[in-house]
């Protein structure tokens, strides 16, 4: 991660101005005092954990470590153990499916809603605002509510499906069958992510100049053609941002899974996030937990680069 932060363009204009004043060194130090506390905090709460995790992944932690303070270095043992563990490869695969499924659903529905709400009609603003609620409620709480709704025997969804004659005799085992649970988790996460996608994409749509649409309609372009040739290309920067941010928050998922399924049944909903938690905080093997955490960081880092590329235009303007 740290290698990405290195490009540090020196900004000259204001610097030169202050150098002309008296006691420039002291003034320069005073100015840094504004930034220093936040920098120190970020070094402690973001920088230190990143470095520490790398070190920890080469150390042998046991439940006894917190009494003795001993965590001897053990080379690549943690890495070998994790990569040989089927749970890790399964979790990697689940995380990929969960992330891809969630993003696809959130983005498609979010975009459709954003386009819909761009029409002018009564209550549009009100409905858009209230739709944010699922995104603002703590994720654990949403997951707990969904856990009740998706309950096989007493859940409202199966009751409704039954009444409509759509469910099998015993109801759909939304959370209790290894084959269905991950899909259920994806559906819940889509529900949570729709408002965020909708609001950002809606904002992006408002930035597209109206006359482009007028020109297109004068040229006799139909709705679908207009959407493909004007809306999508003009929206591209916003789409990149929304997808990358969505990826970042989805790939590390933990709250939702723990409250909805606890990783089960039969580890069918374990993700990289829940495996890290399980290894470190339940088995107290912080070394192996750190390995999975590092893999998570590596994946995030790749997408961080994409994000910064997408944001570069903003930085050019010194925004």
């Amino acid at each position: 991660m740290t290698t990405i932060t290195s490009p540090a363009p020196a900004s000259g204009a204001a610097e030169a101005k202050s150098a002309a004043g008296r006691a420039p060194l002291r003034r320069g130090l005073l100015r840094w005092l504004f930034v220093a506390p936040a920098l120190a905090y970020m070094a402690l709460f973001f920088g230190y954990p990143l470095v520490r995790n790398i070190v920890m992944s080469f150390q042998h932690y046991t439940p006894k470590t917190y009494f003795t303070g001993e965590a001897p270095f053990n080379g690549l043992d943690n890495w070998r153990a994790v990569f040989a563990d089927e749970l890790f490869t399964d979790a990697l695969w689940h995380t990929a499916l969960f992330t891809a499924g969630s993003l696809l659903g959130q983005f498609t529905i979010g975009l459709a809603l954003a386009v819909f709400f761009s029409r002018r009609f009564r209550l549009s603003g009100f409905v858009r605002a209230v739709l944010l609620l699922p995104w603002l409620v703590p994720m654990v709480v949403s997951a707990v509510v969904w856990r009740r709704i998706l309950d096989q025997d007493h859940g409202m969804l199966n009751t409704a499906l039954h009444a409509a004659g759509l469910a099998p005799q015993d109801g759909v085992p939304w959370l209790s069958s290894p084959g269905v649970a991950l899909l259920s988790a994806v559906l819940v996460n889509i529900w949570i992510g729709i408002p965020f996608n909708m609001v950002i994409l809606y904002g992006g749509l408002q930035e597209i100049p109206r006359d482009l649409y007028e020109a297109a309609s004068l040229d006799g372009s139909g709705p679908w053609r207009t959407f493909r040739s004007i809306t999508l290309p003009m929206l591209r920067p916003v789409i990149t941002v929304v997808l990358v941010l969505g990826f970042m928050s989805t790939v590390k998922i933990l709250d939702l899974i723990l409250a909805l399924t606890s990783g089960g049944p039969a580890d069918s909903t374990q993700t990289l996030g829940t495996v890290t938690y399980q290894l470190s905080f339940l088995q107290l093997d912080f070394g192996q937990g750190a390995v999975v955490g590092n893999v998570l960081i590596l994946i995030s880092a790749v997408f961080a680069v994409l994000y910064l590329r997408a944001n570069r235009a903003d930085f050019g303007k010194g925004k």
Binding site: V145, T231, F281
Partner: protein, 275 residues
């Protein structure tokens, strides 16, 4: 696909009807939460579709068992807001106005910190906290939760403070104020709206935090509501009515903020890269 033009073929009334239908579908789980919370007997059997004979009994149970956790969440979230703004506001100002060497690099780094998975931070932080005696402490959780809002607050406040004309501050300094007093008396009041937005989001992030609450606490000394409801589901899985009432109570801040501070929330989501 529909296009966002004013050339509507569909009557606006139908749009409103469709919007309300979308709202009903998407907010159904929220309704269900409220509905189940109002039905004491919903714990045992299937829940009725409507709370025909509503009762607050579940809320009594929820408050008597989870009231302390709600208070803890409130204190921790408020503390996180204070820490976050105290760190972010001066830093954002410095980065916006001083043209510091490497300032751009710092902003880059701030953006990147948003991408560090919380579980990775918790993994390393736990052992540090254990040594510093910060596990199971309010201070420890407040400091950790402040990290959820800090990058966002720095980016958002900086974006606003760039537009403050430096002459305004320089004029105050000519009158004898030093740079810090000028910052407190002039810049902060001017940035009021951006500060409110950053504070609101930090509050919501900290209120919603589950990861740090789960990993940095080993006893029940500091138990925010997210952790409370998680353990509640584990222990009282039969008492779903009370669980739902707890869920309603823990969703209240989000609902209040949505009504009272909608302007700021919209500004926050579009103005910065949230979550």
């Amino acid at each position: 696909m529909k296009r966002p033009t004013s050339l509507l073929r569909v009557r606006p009334v139908w749009n409103t009807a469709a919007a309300l239908l979308i709202l009903a579908v998407l907010l159904f789980p929220v309704y269900w939460m409220l509905n189940a919370a109002l039905q004491p007997e919903s714990s045992i059997a299937a829940t009725e579709w409507f709370p025909v004979s509503p009762s607050l009994k579940n809320f009594d149970t929820a408050i008597s068992t989870q009231g302390g956790s709600l208070l803890t969440s409130f204190v921790v979230a408020l503390g996180a807001v204070v820490v976050c703004l105290a760190l972010a506001a001066p830093a954002a100002y410095g980065l916006a106005q001083f043209g510091l060497r490497g300032g751009q690099g710092i902003v880059f780094a701030t953006l990147i910190t948003q991408m560090v998975p919380g579980i990775v931070i918790a993994n390393a932080l736990y052992s540090a906290y254990a040594q510093l005696d910060l596990v199971n402490s309010y201070l420890g959780l407040i400091l950790a939760d402040a990290s959820l809002g800090l990058p966002f607050a720095v980016v958002l406040l900086r974006a606003f403070m760039v537009s403050i004309p430096s002459e305004v501050v320089e004029a105050a300094m000519v009158d004898g104020a030093n740079r810090f007093t000028a910052f407190v008396r002039i810049v902060l009041p001017m940035s009021r709206n951006a500060m409110i937005t950053a504070g609101l989001f930090t509050f919501l992030f900290a209120w919603s935090d589950f990861m740090f609450a789960l990993t940095l606490n080993t006893t029940d000394d500091v138990k925010p509501i997210t952790l409370g409801i998680y353990q509640f589901v584990g222990a009282h899985v039969s008492d779903w009515g009370a669980v739902m009432a707890t869920a309603v109570l823990s969703a209240v801040p989000a609902a209040i903020l949505l009504v009272v501070a909608q302007k700021y929330i919209a500004a926050g989501i579009t103005g910065g890269s949230v979550k």
